[in-house]
Amino acid sequence: MERDEVIIKAGKSALHYWREVWRQKELFWILGKRDVMVRYKQTILGVAWGVIRPLMTAIVMVFAFGKIAKLEQDSTIPYMLVVIPGVIIWLFFSQSLSQISNSIVGNGNLVSKVYFPRIIIPFSSLLVGLLDAMIAFAMFFVFCIYYKFLPSWHIFFAPIFLFLAYLGAFGAGLLASVLNVKYRDIAQIIPFVVQFGYFISPVAYSSERVKDEWWYPVYNLNPVAGAIDGLRWCLLGDFAEFNWQSFIPMLLFVTISVLFSIWFFRKNENSFVDHL
């Protein structure tokens, strides 16, 4: 809703697009809140699922990679502490990616009935994953107490890496959300990416293990690698070095993908309804 004069015309998206997005910030909150509220409705354990998911994931990974593949032998700190930062980022990234890529089709009933800047929908998909990430962080601190491990002061940088992981998911997911409107193949690809993704990201192992391989630069094209390396540096301090080799590619990926996908989104958003 706009007080000013509005001109509706082919190929002309609103002049003051970002101003309008800002005006509708309440909608951003309320859509995000809806996703959060709906998430655990009619479950017995409710928000406890927010703990169970990362916990089970971490335990299984410690078991598979730490015990069976015996990676924990290289580690000077409990392997659980190595795995958790990976799990935090991976769950946050994969969840945001699935949510964002499905956001336009999933909210098709809104898109085809009401006008508002469409980009609010994928933006608001951030909140659900963020809440889960917070819970997973709390879990990390519980394990710190259990293992009597003191996180370093680097921890203050943790939000930055979480944000970068989100931007990575946002860049890729936004592009997918637009394509998904027309080609539902995307809805098939994303769960698949989420499934194998953690094998090609240093979730359950440290990137130290693959650093010397010739394919390591290719491996780092995956933005999750950079984010996980970064978060390990934040949480584990001296036990994980800051890895510029993965940080720079991630920054490039995030910048290019976010700018490109926003451009692509804006170009297509006025015709979503014709394909839904």
Binding site: I7, I8, A10, Q24, M37, V114
Partner: protein, 414 residues
């Protein structure tokens, strides 16, 4: 001052028709590979479809515009463009003022959330500020009459409650321009009356309303101007009575008969084919519309291609919302090959105002339906009433005046 000026807008859709090329998996596999390696022989044909074509008109501030037209005339496309859901292919629209559109009741309701939560969600989606919603919260709840169910998930609501809540929220929007699509077709009559009343309040406060409806009575009662769309073009725009008259005469011309010359292209199968189906109104005192006073005859002719078949004809009458109003059948008789005619008479003062559809079923041996022609024909019945000062939508699928309610005085004491 102009609230909306619509300048020469058109909307084009491209329909692609794909012929089914392959019948089974093996054929489609080999077809796929041969296409990969050879130049494609294009079997996909594209057709351009203009949902709207060069529509222009201006809406003054405070006008209440009704938009009428048969299905596929472009009404919804026009509303979608005005409410910025889709953009026009060419032309432009200038909108002056805060606009809200209501193309559906309860847009974005989440079934798992409670009534309370959905009020805030839906309000925000429609563009209300949280402060505004809080201020009007009690009013919305009492308008919808759902006080007791405020903390129940809306998936447990009856469909009536759901619609009432949706409309109640929308009715408390305070836009300068309100766009409403056919939402009054749902909900009970009590509530429809409330909605019309609310919309009248809105319009008398000088706000602009655009209202699409099949309900000519509602448009007549609410709007001062109307626009009549047909096949994407604006046929007439002006004073509401004149436009509605044109609209009514045009629909009765177009839809009242369906006729096929030869059995080859007629609908049906190897046993029977439909030749003709028509609605014949018996107009009284020179009127040109079918209204509730008009007796109707429904004629049907079909070719029977079976030797000595024991057939009967079954007719279904549906209301616009798809409920079957009645189903009546003829006596079964044995027919030899040839053309068979059937007739159904609907008396005057029996149907209510609104749209009706007729489906026809031909039954063999009183049990075996051999052909069912769905929505064979449709017609609209206009409203007409006397002896009442009430002009809301008359409730019910039928309005049988021949079933009278009587009152008499039995005692003088109170």
């Amino acid at each position: 001052m102009k609230a909306i000026s619509i300048d020469n807008i058109s909307k084009k859709y491209i329909l692609s028709h794909k012929k089914k090329k392959y019948q089974n998996l093996k054929e489609s596999m080999s077809g796929f590979f041969s296409e990969l390696f050879s130049s494609k022989d294009e079997e996909e044909t594209k057709e351009v479809f203009w949902a709207l074509r060069n529509v222009s008109f201006d809406i003054e501030q405070g006008d209440r515009i009704g938009i009428v037209g048969s299905n596929g005339a472009g009404k919804s496309t026009l509303l979608k463009i005005l409410s910025r859901i889709t953009e026009p292919t060419s032309g432009q629209v200038k909108v002056n003022g805060r606009m809200a559109s209501l193309l559906e009741v309860g847009t974005g309701f989440h079934p798992d959330l409670t009534g309370r939560e959905n009020i805030f969600l839906n309000g925000a989606i429609l563009g209300m500020k949280q402060q505004e919603i809080k201020r009007q919260f009690d009013e919305i709840v009492s308008f919808a009459g759902i006080e007791k169910f405020l903390d129940t998930p809306v998936k447990r609501y009856s469909s009536g409650m759901y619609v009432r809540l949706g409309f109640a929220i929308a009715a408390h929007l305070e836009p300068e321009i309100l766009i409403v699509d056919e939402v009054l077709a749902v909900g009970d009559s009590e509530f429809q009356k409330k909605c019309l009343g609310k919309m009248k309040d809105v319009s008398s406060s000088g706000r602009t309303i655009l209202f699409v409806s099949h309900n000519a009575t509602a448009i007549q009662g609410l709007c001062n101007k109307a626009a009549f769309l047909q096949k994407g073009s604006l046929v007439k725009y002006g004073e509401v009575g004149e436009v509605l008259h044109d609209y009514m005469t045009s629909i009765s011309k177009f839809q009242l008969q369906q006729n096929w010359e030869t059995p080859d292209n007629a609908p049906g199968n190897d046993q029977v084919r439909i030749k003709n189906i028509e609605v014949v109104p018996e107009f009284i005192n020179g009127s040109k519309n079918i209204d509730v006073r008009t007796p109707l005859k429904i004629n049907i002719e079909f070719w029977n291609m079976l030797e000595s078949a024991h057939l009967n004809l079954s007719m279904f009458l549906y209301s616009m919302t798809g409920e079957c109003v009645f189903n009546v059948g003829s006596q079964a008789k044995t027919f030899s090959k040839g053309l068979i005619k059937g007739m159904l008479e609907i008396p005057a003062n029996f149907l209510n105002d609104g749209s009706y559809y007729i489906s026809v079923m031909i039954v063999k041996d009183t049990a075996d339906p051999i052909y069912f022609m769905e929505d064979a024909i449709s017609f609209d019945v206009a409203d007409w009433r006397e002896g009442t000062n009430w002009y809301g939508k008359w409730p019910g699928a039928v309005r049988p005046i021949n079933i009278p309610v009587q009152t008499w005085k039995v005692d003088g004491l109170i």
